[in-house]
Subunit: 447 residues, 2 copies
């Protein structure tokens, strides 16, 4: 942290509170909620907008299904654009359908970008992405209310298709902005046969200009994102603020096991080429390999689609994805080698042929140490304990890592539940996160 | 076989051929195709109607998808009704949408019923059901051409929804006719939310009269069905005619494994309640139990549907069917007990809860020894070798077993393939089957 930041921090500290709580990584220290009067952000206003947003795509059982590129997401975007305009932001949508809202800075400096996403997974919750998106807009409102000027221009961003449940490619908008995804994505088709280009047109964009969405190197000073942890660490340790050390990388493969569809009553057990039995063994082999390594790596098979898929027919063709995640790319590679060996052996034993093709590859990204420090200091100024931890989930921040130093603030997820209607973060935790974002942003701006 | 049958057989034998080939069960004797002139049935005519029928619901890759109760099946039914009328049959459709075509007999006797079905599985072939259905109509044409009178009235039947790929209940039409399925079936819903009653109305029937479709005890003298084997036994042994000893019973359960849907990146491996991992182990446990027993029993899991079914979400709920088949009901029960024990253990280890509900239960049925003898003699009169074998597939004949003595004639399936576009029976084999049906029918009629 440079001198200017120290001065700002001193101002912030005296202005906000004289909380003495230390940053206690991995401690079980209780949540300390400072008096609301010390907060710049307005929780009531933020809660109101989050509750309104939760109506777009609400599931009967709670939570939302608000897939990117859907008729459900469109009005939610309009709602958020309205909020940005109300906050005085100059709103523009890029060719990848990312939404930006700009607030001028006092100096001719690169942009300080912060935000998140509002698309969800199938049967997702109300906090993943939403807290960081509306939290960012709330930060602008708080700055406006305090008539706070920043040196850097600020931009709030709502990234397009972070989850990737539609089209099977996550962090799509930020990937395009980072120049990591090119116009080849336009022809990708969904299950209805519609392409990304078709959807971009429906969203009012001209696909021919997709690469205009790329952000030039040097255009960004830093990227900041507030997000729910989506894991159990903060909730279990009762620590209100997570300082993200880095985001794990992930690789995804789509596998197809081909056996032979045949009559379930007349085909003897020893003559079968049962693609579903093979895929079941493949799934368990993935788990076995992942469990055999020490560390926090995870591996998942999210579905198994059998064809023809009738009760009285031996499945002849099965499709399933394999996903591996870790901070260490070499470990992912090592695990994948082992998985492939096991799949080959299972193919032999089951008289089936399995082919896997990689369709997603996101490299791990470390957060910027000085931004980590700013987040710790911001939390400290509020008397909030922090924990350093990696993010097991992919985030748009990972793509921004290609363009600028970045940092992430985590708030607790109850029981570590996410991508589920039961996903929950308490309002005090949401408020803490937004206020830490506000303070971190000013510290980073002052660097 | 009674004296009258012997006289008829003597007439048939002298009239047709003096072939000396013996009935050689389980032998590898080559197919002997008698000169077409000795055939009463007309293969060209039969082949023409089978080829025309194959156009209704044809798949791009060959074979058909002609599910019962579908807009695809309706015109196929109209086509077959037309053929029956052309053959001079008095056609009626019962309240279960089974189609009957009647030819009067010379004596006041119960009906000699024979036929099959024209519905298919998803991506099925062109022989399963079709050969027996159009073969039966061809037998009527042959009787007409020879001006042959039968003692019993003859009825050709086309059963409704034998495969059960729609509504998940097989041999539905024959089950209703046998009084084994009642009006409770009417409210059963398909994936589009349409009920059996809705479909019956679309097929021109009044669901309120469903039970009128029941066939009274004593109304049938016998039931005969020609069908492809759907297994590899006849094809491998190069025996053209199978004499079915009985049809295996089957039980089907629908299982739901409930775990907990959660984020695939942030949920540690040891905290997961992965319903798909549990279901994969369940599937393999079913296979292990079935393989452990001696005999011809089979067990199958035809699909596994995971929810929410996204690449980055641990599946929280999985649905899959289990099917067990054998001639011996006690063996099925024994295997199911073992499967349940294994599933319970897997539930414990996976922190998942699995519940299975039986939704289909068809008891095994033995064919009538005197009808078996008639089929053997009919084949012998043509110089065709026969093999006694059980049917691993369910057939409508199984339901008819409740009402009358029954028999089944099998013809070879190339490589034992069925329920697949690759399903194939050669035209000489189809002709042999239809001619054996013709001759068996006259022998049974003469009893």
């Amino acid at each position: 942290m440079r001198p200017r930041a120290l001065i700002v921090l001193a101002i912030l500290s005296s202005f906000f509170s004289s909380a003495s709580a230390q940053s206690v990584p991995n401690s079980g220290a209780p949540v300390q909620t400072p008096a609301a009067s010390k907060f710049h952000i307005n929780l009531q206003r933020l809660q109101g907008t989050l509750e309104k947003l939760s109506e777009f795509g609400r599931n009967p059982e709670g939570g939302v299904t608000r897939l990117a590129y859907s008729e459900t997401e469109l009005p939610a975007r309009e709602y958020v654009i309205g909020l940005m305009k109300q906050a005085g932001l100059e709103v523009r949508t890029d060719a990848a359908a990312n939404i930006f809202g700009r607030r001028a800075g006092s100096e001719n400096l690169p942009v300080l970008l912060f935000g998140s996403h509002i698309d969800s997974v199938l049967k997702g919750g109300n906090f993943d992405g939403d807290v960081g998106s509306l939290g960012a807009i709330e930060v602008i409102n708080a700055l406006n209310q305090g008539a706070v000027k920043t040196r850097h221009p600020l931009e709030v961003v709502i990234w397009m298709n972070e989850e990737g449940n539609h089209f099977g490619v996550g962090t799509m908008g930020s990937g395009i902005a980072a120049g990591l995804i090119g116009s080849e994505i336009l022809e990708r088709k969904d299950e209805q046969g519609l392409t990304v280009a078709d959807w971009l047109r429906r969203y009012g964009q001209d696909p021919a200009h997709l690469t205009d969405a790329r952000i030039a190197r040097g255009a960004l000073a830093s990227y900041l994102e507030l997000h729910i942890e989506q894991g159990p660490n903060l909730d279990e340790a009762k620590v209100p603020i997570g300082v993200v050390q880095g985001i794990v990388g992930l690789n995804r493969w789509r596998c197809v096991a081909t056996g032979f569809a045949n009559h379930a009553g007349t085909t003897p057990m020893d003559r079968r080429k049962d693609a579903l039995a093979a895929a079941s063994r493949d799934l368990l082999a993935v788990r076995e390999v992942v469990r055999a390594e020490k560390g926090r790596q995870v591996g998942t098979v999210g579905y198994v689609k059998a064809e023809p898929g009738a009760v009285n027919v031996i499945p002849g063709r099965v499709e399933f994805p394999i996903e591996l995640r870790d901070l260490d790319a070499a470990k992912i590679e090592r695990m994948w080698d082992q998985v492939q060996q096991k799949l080959k052996q299972i193919d032999k034993e089951e008289n089936v042929e399995t082919r896997c093709t990689e369709f997603d590859n996101v490299t791990a990204a470390r957060t910027d140490p000085s931004i980590q420090a700013a987040i710790r200091e911001a939390a400290k100024s509020l008397g909030l304990a922090t924990m350093d931890l990696p993010s097991g989930a992919v985030h748009d921040a990972q793509q921004m890592a290609k363009l600028a130093p970045f940092g992430m603030i985590f708030v607790p997820s109850r029981d570590g539940i996410s991508h589920s209607p039961k996903e929950f973060t308490s309002w005090p935790d949401v408020a803490n996160g937004a206020e830490v974002l506000y303070r971190s942003l000013l510290l980073v701006d002052a660097r």
